[in-house]
Symmetry: C2
DNA sequence: GTTCAGCACTCACTAGAGTGGAGTGCCAGA
DNA sequence: TCTGGCACTCCACTCTAGTGAGTGCTGAAC
């Protein structure tokens, strides 16, 4: 039983307004108690378990009639006639929007975060990968971390490295430190000098411009084979800039889904979704675009995740959006904790990424 | 003398020698039938189900007495007194070594493989990632693909790109097309010319040598700040060469584990293992080092995977070892199929990686 | 009008008994 | 050495209460 002091309940009801979502103070308190207890116990909550909750202080009979009203209004559901109540998606939504006290990490969690970022090292990809592990540890949810899109990062360096007689590697360094590569097959052997000349031309053509805005036209040098290399290089640059090459997804703690659900085929379908990078990235983006930070149950529209909730948090580097954090758990996840963890880790990650040192 | 009407059985028994593992022909045939049927049905196999199998042709009573002997010898197990038999790890081992007919992909699978490699494009990392998906699809197992170690690939290019006033990025291209990067924080601002000079020196110092063999001593240029950059660069190169940066792991189809087991905590513990890259890579390497291509149940010594079997297959590029393929499934997985898929895909992947064009 | 104690009712869950069936081990005889 | 027959075991399933947590309703008190 989570200890909740009365003043908090009153505060949150005040914050929700006198008619916060159409629920009077007692109904809100009852809903709060049901959701909290169901999150903790995963068992349907009966009227008797609610009478002692702060802000209720009426008999179980009265609670029952309020619960019946909450059910009529779609906040609660009953698995069967003689069972306790379970929150619906709408019930969780009200809880998240009006009732849940802004959570915070416990001391241990804060220490974990501090330690992590104190010792974090390595390049951005490893960092994001390990961040997903950290988030999963903190929240017991599956964590999804989407790396920054490089759409707007200017090209800092373009290089051609010969790997074989007719094979070269185009290596592009962007202003945000990302390195992208694409191999180029050449129609004929090209000597070092021509390769260097082509690289210089490519650099002149594209330096300072983001990958997405590399022009396809490039002035001819007069030398046929150099021109061929250059145009192949431009094609490669443009293909690197095309959409799907952008954001990387890191998923951590997918084993947590096997703990959250006892139905093995729920686990299977959720894992199947998590394997589809594009689906996950799009899903997180969609949720962010609707302006939500939590999507509960059917709200996100992905049917296999109907019994899941998703917490999203943008990561920003100096105001610029630079990635997304997502937490996936059952609808009865610990929302305050998840939101707090996502916020703290997101902020720290943003700071970290904006620091010059790796 | 029982008449064996199936030449395949005789072949495999011949291959195992007249005393293949200490089992006579009929016992081997019975074991074969039990394992095959258990793989197909996941139900304990009774004597009645075995009498019709090729190479048996004795009554169920005789089969029973043979089964009892097989149980005494540790090949079979009995969940309870009045149940059928289940293969032990030793039973699967005998099956894999002496009984299983070399499998092959069906027409559909072969077509999938062909299509995949015809349309495969992109850089090596994407290729390996998607290969893991292909293998999972083919075998219904979880697939693990370990990328090539770059230990022996010579450095082809070393470059320093300025990212900020006191921040540079070291970009290294290896002969096998791998690109590695490491950011370098500089103690003081360094101008372009000095950075270029330092890069040139670094290149001279390390070109043609694998990352693991970059010497830490480098001749001084006389210019203090250039020397500082160079020595930072050498440190960065050597840290890139240190062991753990090497092999990348790609896991595909982890949702398959949720289908293979109905106990949800088996699923959880297996997924937990799969999240630990280092454990998985080491495990695959250990199995390869013992010379096995299949590790069954407790053979691999990782306790949470006791109910799993692992098929491993090295991927080689022109004789050089260049990665590993692993398939993880329940001990009652389809070994012939898994071995065939791993072999075919491993071979094709090796060919593909050795082709110059991507 | 709101609240509450009391009451009848519902229904998942559990335990226990009974049954059918798949499977075994053993044994005597061919 | 193999086989048919036989007694036995034990899981899986069904059926039957019995239990208890929970409900909705109602009439009286405030």
């Amino acid at each position: 039983m989570p200890t909740t002091d009365d003043s908090r309940i009153d505060d949150s009801l005040d914050a929700a307004g006198p008619d916060g979502g159409g629920l009077d103070a007692r109904k809100a308190a009852i809903l709060n108690a049901v959701v909290s207890e169901y999150i903790a116990s995963a068992q349907p909550v009966g009227s008797q378990h609610v009478v002692d909750a702060p802000g209720v202080s009426v008999s179980s009979a009265t609670v029952r009639s309020d619960m019946a009203a909450l059910e009529r209004d779609g906040y609660l559901d009953q698995p069967h006639t003689s069972a306790g109540r379970i929150p619906t998606d709408k019930g969780y939504r009200f809880f998240v929007d009006h009732l849940a006290r802004p959570g915070s990490l416990d001391a241990l969690g804060r220490q974990q975060v501090r330690q992590f970022f104190d010792h974090a090292h390595g390049e951005i990809e490893q960092m994001l990968e390990r961040t997903s592990g950290l988030l999963a540890d903190l929240t017991d949810c599956t964590a999804m971390v989407v790396g920054p899109s490089h759409d707007s990062a200017a090209i800092r360096s373009v290089q051609l490295v010969a790997l074989g007689p007719r094979l070269a590697l185009l290596v592009v360094v962007l202003a945000d430190g990302a390195v992208q590569k694409q191999s180029i097959e050449l129609a004929e052997e090209v000597d070092e000098a021509r390769l260097a000349e082509a690289a210089a031309r490519l650099a002149a053509h594209s330096l300072g411009v983001p990958l997405t805005r590399v022009r396809s036209k490039v002035a001819a040098t007069g030398d046929r084979s150099t021109d061929a290399v250059i145009s192949a290089g431009v094609r490669a640059l443009r293909s690197l800039g095309s959409a799907d090459a952008g954001e990387q997804l890191f998923v951590g703690g997918s084993s947590r889904m096997a703990v959250a659900f006892d139905a093995v085929d729920t686990v299977r379908s959720v894992l199947t979704i998590l394997e589809q990078q594009l689906v996950v990235v799009t899903l997180l983006r969609d949720i962010l675009d609707t302006g939500l930070s939590v999507a509960i149950g059917s709200e996100h529209g992905v049917e296999p995740l109907a019994s899941c909730a998703i917490v999203v948090m943008p990561v920003s580097i100096g105001g610029e959006e630079a990635g997304t954090i997502g937490l996936l758990g059952p609808t009865r996840m610990n929302y305050p904790l998840a939101l707090a963890a996502a916020r703290v880790v997101g902020d720290r990650l943003g700071e970290r990424l904006s620091e010059p040192g790796r």
